[in-house]
């Protein structure tokens, strides 16, 4: 890993590594509410089937995951668990915020117990709007994330210098 840290990765190697990462995204499912049903449809049903995109939705723990999909209503009570989940994931790690609740609080914008957006707690790479989003929207979010991974400068990512704007689907 010395090459990566020093930023002296040959370009073809970067491309190869990025291609490998792009098509083996281990996605951790963090279903908190009704969006999890749509996530289940996107992941498990033969109609949508994310595994054809190289996304593997079966990591046994966050420590094996590259991507976490926060789908559903984030309450103040579960925030410590989300924070710990994110800290357990190894770098490079990505977060998809799925649905209005995880994005902004959504219909619970005035609630006493709902966190107004998971981006207050952990950095978000892709926002998928909708209440709930259709499985196609989630898959588009994943595809856009894969496109970003393909073009990523690994050294910059490693050093935490990659200050990219988050992707918004739609």
């Amino acid at each position: 890993m010395g090459l990566v840290e020093s930023g002296k990765m040959p370009k073809p190697l970067t491309k190869l590594l990025n291609l490998s990462r792009k098509y083996s995204v281990w996605a951790y499912q963090w279903g908190l509410a009704c969006c999890a049903i749509e996530m289940g449809a996107a992941f498990a049903s033969p109609r949508y089937d994310v595994m054809r995109l190289g996304v593997i939705p079966f990591p046994a723990s966050p420590r094996q995951a590259d991507l976490v999909i926060i789908s559903g209503t984030v309450t103040d009570k579960i925030v410590p668990a989300i924070r710990r989940l994110y800290e357990q994931m190894p770098d490079p790690k990505y977060v998809i915020s799925m649905g209005s609740c995880a994005n902004t609080g959504g219909p619970y914008w005035d609630s006493y117990s709902v966190t107004k957006g998971v981006d207050q707690v952990i950095p978000v790479d892709v926002y998928v709007p909708g209440c709930p989003p259709r499985p196609e929207a989630l898959i588009e979010g994943i595809a856009l994330l894969q496109a970003r991974i393909q073009n990523e400068d690994m050294a910059a990512r490693w050093k935490g210098e990659q200050g990219q704007e988050p992707i918004v689907v739609g």
Binding site: D76, D110, S111, S113
Partner: protein, 229 residues
């Protein structure tokens, strides 16, 4: 439950009988077993039974309902805050909401079925398996001392309901061994289901749904008409 009853009141069922001997008998039996502790009662024929009992008899009422009368199924336990909301209906409010708002007069509260003398009432519903009989029990909680007996010794399932009522209304159930928060973070301050609890997001931002309201078809839209003229 009260909503159902109110709807039915507006449009009475044609089949609804004028009297209901089975439910009247339940009230009579409860009154016989509890004596003076039954403060008030209401029977809606074919619908339900509402009984208000004295505060001190709240735990005993559960005991009697379950073990002497066969209401073995515990449905729910909660509380009501009868204070009118100091914020009014947020949806109707103008952009500026005065904060903190003036507290409304407790006397303006309209008590529900079987009446009530205090701001808070606890209520619980129990049912008799094998029949369609349900019993809605209520008791006043004294304004100066928000304490009432626990039901957990009779219905074990009431423990979580009492925890929720404790955190949402601040009512203490004496004898419940474990009144920790159940839904809210343990360091949460305030009691969200009390009427004076502010939803700060709504104080800062007016109700956003109001801008989406379209005029009903056929309703003259004056402003638009003026523009045309």
């Amino acid at each position: 439950m009260a909503d159902d009853a109110a709807t039915t009141e507006d449009a009475p069922l044609e089949q609804a009988p004028a009297t209901d001997e089975r439910r009247d008998a339940v009230v009579a039996e409860l009154t016989e077993l509890l004596g003076d502790a039954v403060v008030d009662s209401l029977v809606k024929p074919g619908l339900g039974i509402w009984v208000r009992v004295a505060t001190d008899a709240w735990s005993e009422t559960a005991e009697v309902a379950r073990h002497r009368m066969g209401f073995r199924f515990f449905d729910f336990l909660s509380a009501i805050d009868w204070l009118p909301s100091p914020y009014g209906r947020y949806e109707d409010a103008a952009i500026e909401v005065e904060f903190p708002p003036p507290m409304p007069d407790r006397a303006d509260a309209v008590p529900g079925y079987t009446g009530g003398d205090t701001r808070f009432q606890v209520l619980a519903s129990v049912a008799k398996p094998g029949t369609d009989l349900r019993l809605l029990l209520k008791a006043d909680v004294p304004d100066d001392d928000l304490r009432i007996g626990t039901w957990t010794r009779t219905y074990v399932g009431a423990a979580w309901h009492e925890r929720e009522t404790h955190e949402m209304f601040g009512i203490t159930f004496e004898g419940n061994p474990d009144l920790r928060h159940i839904y809210l973070p343990s360091d949460f301050e305030g009691h969200p289901l009390r009427k004076e609890f502010p939803l700060l997001a709504r104080v800062i931002k007016p109700w956003p749904g109001i801008v989406d309201v379209e005029p009903m078809p056929g309703e003259a839209d004056d402003a638009e008409g003026d523009e045309d003229a």
